[in-house]
């Protein structure tokens, strides 16, 4: 991983006695503790996180403001605050808000999911996209969209597809995890990150071919509808679909924050983690589970939005200059990326491209940069 800037090192045994060293550390890094949750307060990091949150809110308002008819930002803020006329409230609350809210929630879920997965697997390129989890979710949704025989509305399309996506994502994760289970390099039974990533890529290839096959079985209309879903589109976002995503995102956030300390320990490598007394396998499984749920819920809501889960944690890490992928900042960055991509697409692009395509187009070059950087580092060390 990176140089350990900003991480609190274990108190060194000094001649003056350990107590004083600990007090010294406390003075430098005041910590906030609530039960098992412990956050070290770092003013710069805190400042950047607040700035990110402000940026997300700004993009959220902008996403409401742009569209077929642009609404002045002032009025958006006014309506969100409870003011505005009845018709203004209708347009903003009923038609624009769900879309913007979906963008933010989906982005946050993807960012968080990516941050968890990348921390656990010690690889900046590991993410639900690369591991095939979003593809598994896509198989579920496409199967429903193709199998329902052209139901564009109704229960099948609005409820069936998201549930199938969620099931598909979770099933894929379980399969990958079970397949990766085995004897590791040290003879210890368990899951190693390296094997998990490779098996994920293999499973992803199979799932892609299943999607291709499903698309040939469908009528052209159904195939087109499935294809649109596959690009990750915010069109048709509604409150009914955001609510489950919000609930899931909250649960996952709480779980992952409570495990933040474990995550920091896992980052030190599996042997050190074991020495520190963390039960690796169960913690790993829990956190991978949280990551998968977040990614699947996001995919279920709008379709696969590529590269956000991959890029958001890395951008957050670079901004905060932390050793590992920061959870809250990654979620905020993800939200900003998706909302920003939606604003970009609707306000500036000649065609209203699905948000997944915009994020992929921006994410591709970033990914290549990451790859090159990773290879350089591997060669130097």
């Amino acid at each position: 991983m990176d140089e350990p800037t900003g991480r609190v090192a274990a108190a060194p045994p000094s001649a003056d006695g350990t107590d004083r060293a600990v007090t010294e550390l406390r003075r430098v890094r005041p910590a906030l503790r609530v039960g098992p949750v412990s956050l070290v307060l770092r003013p710069v990091v805190f400042g950047i996180v607040v700035a990110l949150a402000v940026a997300v809110f700004a993009l959220f308002c902008l996403d409401i403001a742009v569209g077929d008819t642009h609404i002045p930002l002032g009025r958006v803020l006014d309506v969100l605050g409870g003011g505005g006329t009845r018709s203004q409230r209708f347009i903003i609350i009923e038609s624009r808000l769900p879309r913007a809210l979906t963008a933010v929630v989906v982005g946050a879920a993807l960012g968080l999911s990516g941050a968890l997965m990348q921390s656990i697997l010690h690889n900046p390129l590991a993410g639900p996209d690369v591991l095939g989890i979003t593809t598994g979710a896509s198989v579920g949704a496409v199967a429903v969209l193709v199998g329902s025989g052209g139901a564009t509305t109704g229960l099948v399309a609005t409820v069936g597809a998201p549930i199938a996506a969620l099931t598909g994502g979770l099933l894929t994760a379980v399969v990958i995890y079970l397949l990766a289970w085995g004897r590791g390099g040290g003879g210890e039974r368990g899951v190693t990150g390296f094997r998990l990533v490779l098996i994920g890529i293999g499973v992803n290839a199979v799932l892609m071919s299943v999607i291709s096959w499903l698309l040939t079985r469908a009528s052209l209309t159904d195939a087109a509808r499935a294809q649109l879903w596959l690009t990750g589109s915010l069109n048709g976002a509604d409150m009914a679909r955001v609510v489950p995503a919000v609930v899931a995102l909250s649960v996952v956030t709480v779980v992952s924050l409570m495990s933040a300390r474990t995550l920091a320990a896992l980052r030190l490598g599996e042997d050190s983690t074991r020495v520190l007394g963390v039960r690796i396998q169960s913690q790993q499984a829990l956190l991978i589970g949280a990551s998968v749920v977040a990614a699947s819920v996001a995919t279920a809501a709008v379709g696969p939005v590529g590269f956000v889960a991959l890029a958001a944690p890395q951008i957050a890490r670079m901004a905060l200059r932390t050793a590992g992928e920061p959870l809250i900042a990654s979620a905020l960055t993800g939200a900003a990326l998706v909302a920003g991509a939606d604003v970009l697409s609707r306000a500036f692009l000649p065609v209203d491209l699905p948000v997944g395509i915009v994020t992929a187009a921006l994410g591709g070059p970033f990914l290549l940069y990451l790859l090159v950087r990773m290879n350089r580092k591997a060669t130097l060390s």
Binding site: G202, W213, G306, L368, R376
Partner: protein, 348 residues
């Protein structure tokens, strides 16, 4: 230590067996289908076809059975056989040059590159026939190949199995998204593309076969020519250099051969994953690491596997059929997973 004579005998026996199996697979591929034909009818139709003036694909048919054989089954079988050979040889080359037991044209993004440019050309020029867009698919896999190998070799280090595969997965994901962007804008492009991308040897015209054939032949020739230097490269770059191999030039030569083979095959029948991964491992159990044997063996195994998968796809899903790309994913994935699960991934 196995006696050299034993290895030699095993290689020759294996070769004989492979040729016999291939013949059986070819006959089965011509005979089995929605309408199954008796072997005698097949034999008769084929001999008559090859005795014709206009060549086997342009001969006037004397009966419906003959028409099926000529128009549908022969081109299909020839395409499957040659594409399989090409993909098998390409797989052996990729694994040899990258010294990576997990390398495969599909996993390394070459297929996605072909898919992207194919979709782009279908969208821009309204192509509907494979013969029109194969050139773009070709160029696409070449570009993707250069990007993946380039990115994973920046930094001058040996690309580890993980980093090369990740580079492939990354490029694939990006190109796939771009492809989606194109076909979501245009239903006609989607309609053509979705039948190409699944990986299919049915319904391709004989014209496609003749167009890609020269590339496949040149590619196989180059692969055979590269075998001795590839053997030296497998000793490590420094040793190879010491023995007088121009390492960079040898690598470039190899990459060109891979693109000709897998690009040509992908252009003709669509992206096929896992074949190039599985086949060299099968071949290696018989031939050992010597590329002079491994490469031709991989070719024959590739042709055999693609034919068998195609025939099996027709039998399993009767009266419809399961495309060969799907069949190979189903066969190849368990193999890939078993390979990954092996205790240590030994570099080749």
């Amino acid at each position: 230590m196995i006696h050299p004579g034993t290895v030699r005998r095993r290689r020759l026996t294996g070769l004989l067996l492979l040729v016999v199996l291939l013949t059986v697979a070819v006959v089965a591929s011509i005979a089995i289908g929605t309408r199954s034909l008796a072997p005698t009818t097949v034999f008769d139709a084929v001999t008559h076809a090859f005795g014709c003036d206009g060549g086997p694909f342009r001969c006037p048919a004397r009966s419906t059975a003959e028409e099926i054989v000529r128009e549908l089954r022969l081109p299909r079988t020839a395409l499957a056989l040659f594409a399989g050979v090409a993909l098998g040889v390409a797989g052996a080359l990729i694994q040899g040059y990258t010294r990576n037991p997990l390398a495969d044209a599909g996993l390394l993004g070459l297929n996605a590159g072909a898919g992207f440019l194919a979709a782009l050309s279908i969208f821009l020029f309204g192509f509907t026939a494979p013969a029109q867009y194969i050139w773009f698919a070709f160029a696409g896999s070449a570009i993707a190949g250069v990007i993946v190998f380039g990115v994973s070799s920046i930094g001058g280090g040996k690309a580890s199995p993980l980093s090369l595969i990740l580079a492939g997965a990354a490029v694939t994901a990006f190109l796939q998204a771009m492809t989606n962007a194109i076909i979501v804008l245009d239903n006609a492009a989607l309609d053509t593309y979705r039948f190409w991308v699944v990986g299919n040897v049915a319904g391709r015209e004989a014209e496609v076969f003749w167009e890609v054939l020269p590339f496949l032949v040149v590619g196989v020739g180059m692969a055979m020519a590269a075998a001795p230097s590839l053997n030296l490269l497998s000793l490590g770059d420094d040793v190879a250099r010491g023995l007088g191999v121009d390492v960079t030039r040898a690598r470039a030569f190899g990459l060109i051969a891979v693109v000709l083979l897998s690009g040509g095959a992908t252009a003709a029948i669509g992206p096929i994953a896992f074949l190039g991964l599985v086949v060299p491992h099968m071949a290696r159990t018989i031939t050992g690491p010597d590329n002079k044997w491994l490469i031709p063996y991989s070719g024959l195994f590739g042709g055999l596997l693609l034919l068998v998968a195609d025939v099996a796809g027709r039998v399993i899903a009767r009266p419809g059929e399961l495309q060969v790309g799907v069949m190979l994913a189903a066969i190849g994935a368990p193999f890939f997973i078993a390979l990954v699960r092996r205790k240590r991934l030994v570099a080749l």
